[in-house]
Amino acid sequence: MTLEVLLFASYADAAGASRVQVVVPDGATVADVVAAVRAAAPAIPLPKRPLVAVNHRYATPELAVAVGDELALIPPVAGG
């Protein structure tokens, strides 16, 4: 399946885009998506275990994803 992953702040600047498209097998997990993003956009300075949000909630690496989910890579936050 083809999924889009939203990018923000330093990740978006590094990729030169606000989203990246990846192809992963059906039943793929958040960890699989992260691995696919590393391959598709190696310029993004991802840490070992980047924060990922699925449908606006922080997700664990084991969570399965599906077409229609809103996926986002969350750089270290700096609000306040």
Binding site: A9, H56, A72, V77, A78, G80
Partner: protein, 146 residues
């Protein structure tokens, strides 16, 4: 309770009134402002960028948790986005409570959670014309490899 991202200046007095109630003995305010120096570099202003739907959701969630933890529904949080000049308020947290201790503790707890969880980023504009995304201190899962 009310939480929101805003694209205009935050009215601190209005938020103070909003959490007022006759049974409150205290209103605590936290006002985060844009500082002129960060890590030795002269700052001109800061651009706040949010993953808006998730930031709104996290702000609302933090207010609910604070309400359960500190025992008040008189909580308002506004966080600004866009470009802010020096001294402008980026975030205001107002907590009304019958007692001063939970009111103060609640405001402190909310700002710490907000800084830890809410997907908002700061692009600092420096006086020398350069810009850089602010990197928070590494926290667990977000720790970089390097």
């Amino acid at each position: 309770m009310r939480t929101t991202l805003v694209g205009r200046p935050i009215d601190v007095a209005a938020l103070t009134r909003e959490v007022g109630a006759e049974d409150n003995g205290a209103i605590s305010l936290f006002v985060g402002t844009v500082r002129n120096v960060n890590e030795g570099r002269a700052v001109d202003g800061i651009e706040y960028n949010a993953y808006a739907p998730m930031a709104e959701r996290e702000l609302a969630q933090i207010a609910e948790e604070a309400s359960a933890r500190f025992g008040t529904r008189h909580i308002v949080i506004e966080h600004r986005t866009g470009y802010l000049a020096l001294g402008e308020a980026s975030v205001v947290i107002a907590v009304g409570h019958p007692r001063r201790a939970p009111s103060l503790d609640g405001a402190r707890w909310i700002i710490e959670e907000l800084k830890r969880r809410v997907p908002i980023w700061k692009l600092e504009h420096y006086v020398d014309g350069t810009r850089e995304w602010v990197a928070q201190l590494p926290t667990g899962e977000a720790t970089a490899d390097a």
